[in-house]
Symmetry: C2
Subunit: 193 residues, 2 copies
DNA sequence: CGAAAATTTGATCGAAGTCAATCATTGTGG
DNA sequence: CCACAATGATTGACTTCGATCAAATTTTCG
């Protein structure tokens, strides 16, 4: 896929961009293809890049006391960045890695800021991305606070019906805030009933 | 305080607004003063209003199986709205109430959208509000996922050192996702040591 | 094919929840 | 301005869900 097509998808999904804005965005961004397991961001690094997933999947995770905890998945037509580092210019607590062969569009924060200052359309697009992310985080807090391990699992299946085919149960369990063992037991019960 | 002063504070805190934009915002917004316990939004209501707290405090909460769970506090110079209802035009799962005598600036979603479409400055301001909220939610997820009840309490004290003087322990406990009894026990230990 | 990674299964434990009974503080009407 | 009801906070006894630790089994892939 070429950059213009990708930017059109983005424009359709988030907010309309005028032609001049699209063109300039195209000039500022690069297409990147990575193999499974390759790393976009490492812990401790200050990352000023945002990634739009054209095809494939990625996850952000931390190592908390040696344990690998997935904090975010991003699939086709999603954005991902090292959220704390990107917005607060601090060392990233997250790693970001690619879960399969993945094609991305990369743009730097500087360029996003230039585009946002110059084009109202682009400011609107980043606003929509932030707002959608905000709503998703809000829903996740409700899920974490009120749901049992089993409800959390059912809930993620509703949002992403085929997620178990795309990510390992280890990553999925840590994402919904339960242990791998508990997830395994929940799944066992479900197939029985 | 008059509207112009309030809008200047908002412009300073979030993103600069030009004079024309400030003036128009002033025309679209209303000052409202409420007494302790008065309600801004009720569960089930579709709320299209955003509130900027000039002075006082508010909280958003749900009734989950009869239990009152605080989901958000807003103090001076914070925004608050019924986040799900406002952005997705659905019945609000939240109530929003005023915790003490509180002065607010109210603006409707329609007017926010008009201002955002017309003024790049205003779009930028709403973008900043969404981004800040997103980062706060993200931090809260990390806190909920990794911290013990005691760490959650220490954590909220770091962010809001005098929060226990402004909100009841009942509300605080539910906000950090622990029971009132557990919070009480944590506080007892701390004063002893 | 065989090693490494992922998942399942089992046994045990503990942090925090629940339920229940005071105790303390606050605010209002007589 | 006090009484006392209502609300908020503390304390205790007990329970539970899901974590942890450990081992076995299955899957993946070089």
């Amino acid at each position: 896929m070429n950059k213009e097509d990708i930017i059109n998808i983005m424009s359709d999904k988030y907010a309309h961009l005028n032609d001049e804005c699209k063109l300039e965005f195209s000039n500022y961004s690069q297409i990147l293809t990575l193999k499974k397991g390759e790393v976009l961001v490492k812990e401790g690094q200050i990352s000023d890049k945002a990634y739009f997933i054209v095809d494939g999947s990625t996850r952000a995770y931390y190592l908390k006391d040696g344990k690998d905890i997935t904090d975010w998945f991003a699939f086709e037509n999603d954005f991902i960045c090292a959220i704390n580092s990107f917005f607060q210019n601090i060392p990233s607590p997250h790693y970001i890695e690619v879960l399969e062969e993945t094609t991305l569009l990369v743009i730097s924060k500087d360029d996003i800021m230039k585009l946002s200052d110059k084009y109202h359309d682009y400011e609107r697009l980043t606003n929509r991305v932030a707002t959608k992310t905000m709503l998703k985080l809000q829903a996740r807090i409700v899920s974490m606070q009120f749901q049992t391990a089993e409800q959390k699992y059912q809930n993620i299946l509703l949002a992403y019906p085929n997620i178990t085919q795309r990510v390992s149960l280890t990553h999925l369990a840590s994402y919904i805030g339960i242990t791998l063992e508990t997830l395994s037991r929940i799944r066992k019960l479900k197939t029985r009933i």
